[in-house]
């Protein structure tokens, strides 16, 4: 695979740009792979890339039922951050954030990572206490977090409604300056190109319809393109983990819900950072193209419909407009929704399953995009060695039975209470 560079662009300028090649192959599935990753989203492609890159494995396939990056990788709000209070979470996401900082170089593909700052607003004394606690916990593990006073917030994000009569008065904020956004499609395409170059077969339009069993062990998958044998199989289909695991007879602590997001027409740069708040559930950021991207709560009931309730959209927008009134005249151009794996403690599930040779990476709730590199790297370790990576060990499936749940929100055992 030819490296992308300014020089190759320049050379192309003189020969009619005829040097462009497809970024990945379209291979026919082989009869057997050492490792099959089910799901060609960012996480699955990253997993395959690190299996080949870090573990030197050659015989790997990624099976994707549609086209790569066409699920939740293309349906999120592209926010990257590691501002979590609990150590297992912020350690995993921070590992990922450090990878994001070099990902474009690593993949020779511009993922447009833009560390513009992740600003979490506080609306009360209690909010500021919670933010200070969270920031302290992060700093104890060497992750950047700064508390901001009201005046600092005013200077940093001037379009916020800082008046005392605001619907949600702003007392201050916590900022993680290294947080930001990235280009979602480029992440999938960059990992796909990288994995393909290292010999991974990326097989699209290939839906897994069942598992081939030998006794208790999984030894392959049935697909719409025939039976494919496998040494180990990794499920990486967040949103549909319950469905795919169900094909192997597993019941997971996951319920699928709809998560909606939306974007306005493009405008000149007006927001400097990714704005979130401690009390509300609303994410606002401006894409590089200029559109204001909104995200909010999931629809709190199970659905695979990939379309949601307008009431939830209205709530997210109402919160956004209260925070940044200047947005009120913008026209919304597009809304979309993804199917999220809502796990029962709000944290992902990565590791082995009760079925031999079958591994699971799912339960990312509404926060999987930022973890893409870390999820792929640690899951690749698990799939290659059969053992947990130090960073994904706390996220094992058996934590619900042992009581070692990782409940960042402290909101109890039901996914619809998140």
């Amino acid at each position: 695979m030819e490296r992308y560079s300014a020089l190759s662009l320049l050379r192309g300028a003189f020969n009619g740009q005829k040097h462009w090649q497809p970024a990945w192959r379209d291979p026919e599935p082989k009869s057997h792979y050492d490792i099959i990753v089910i799901g060609g989203g960012g996480h699955g492609l990253a997993t395959a890339y690190y299996l080949a890159k870090v573990h030197g494995l050659k015989n790997i396939a990624v099976l994707e039922k549609g086209y790569i990056g066409g699920g939740n990788t293309g349906r999120n709000t592209t926010i990257v951050r590691s501002n979590y209070r609990q150590a297992p979470l912020h350690n995993l996401f921070e590992f990922g954030l450090k990878m994001w900082e070099h990902l474009s170089d690593e993949l020779n593909y511009n993922v447009m990572f833009s560390p513009r700052g992740s600003l979490t607003l506080g609306h009360s004394d209690a909010d500021m206490t919670m933010l200070a606690q969270k920031g302290d916990a992060m700093r104890c593990d060497g992750i950047d977090a700064e508390l901001m006073t009201r005046d600092q917030v005013t200077k940093f994000e001037p379009l916020l409604d800082m008046s005392r009569s605001a619907r949600f008065p702003i007392e201050g904020a916590m900022i993680q300056r290294r947080g930001g956004t990235a280009r979602h499609d480029a992440v999938a395409w960059g990992y796909a190109r990288g994995a393909d170059t290292l010999g991974v077969d990326i097989i699209q339009k290939c839906e897994v319809t069942g598992f081939v069993r030998d006794g208790d062990a999984v030894v392959g998958v049935e697909t719409t393109r025939g039976r494919i044998g496998a040494g180990r199989v990794g499920i990486c289909v967040a949103g549909h983990s319950g469905h795919v695991a169900g094909l192997a007879g597993l019941k997971l602590p996951i319920e699928s819900q709809t998560l909606q997001a939306m974007v306005t027409e493009g405008v000149k740069p007006m927001l400097n950072s990714v704005i979130q708040t401690q009390s509300l559930h609303c994410y606002i950021s401006q894409s590089d193209k200029g559109g204001i991207v909104f995200g909010g709560d999931p629809d709190n009931w199970p659905s695979y419909a990939q379309r949601g309730d307008p009431m939830i959209m209205e709530r997210a927008i109402a919160q956004g407009l209260a925070l940044v009134p200047a947005l009120s005249r913008l026209r919304m151009v597009r809304t979309w929704s993804g199917v999220t794996d809502m796990s029962f403690d709000g944290s992902p599930i990565i590791g082995e399953t009760p079925v031999q040779n079958l591994y699971l990476n799912g339960g990312w709730c509404y926060g999987g995009f930022k973890a893409t590199p870390a999820s792929g790297f640690t899951y690749a370790h698990t799939l290659a060695t059969g053992k947990p990576h130090a960073l994904n060990a706390p996220f094992s499936l058996d934590r619900f039975a042992s009581g070692a749940t990782i409940d960042e929100n402290g909101s109890g055992p039901l996914p619809n209470s998140r």
Partner: protein, 86 residues
């Protein structure tokens, strides 16, 4: 989505709150293992499941709704008494 409450008739989904599936109500005499499985695992089908909903912003009554999770088609709604509430 519109849900026909057994007591109030057709109402907007916004008035209703989802609780959990029928098969995940933990019986009071369950062993810890059974309770864990019932509370923490779901079939989560890409198809029909039986769900407990509540008309929270209406008559507040509980009901069981049989609903397809891709098409949102509701095939049955029945009122339930206190015995279905965990």
């Amino acid at each position: 989505m519109q849900i026909t409450c057994p007591h109030c008739g057709p109402r907007a989904q916004a008035e209703f709150v989802y609780e959990r599936t029928v098969d995940s109500v933990v019986p009071l005499d369950a062993t810890p293992e059974e309770a864990m499985k019932t509370l923490f695992t779901r079939n989560n089908p890409r198809g029909v499941d039986e769900e407990i909903w509540r008309h929270t912003f209406g008559c507040r009554a509980w009901m069981v709704i049989t609903r397809h999770r891709v098409t949102n088609e509701i095939t049955a709604i029945r009122a339930v008494g206190p015995e279905a509430i965990p």
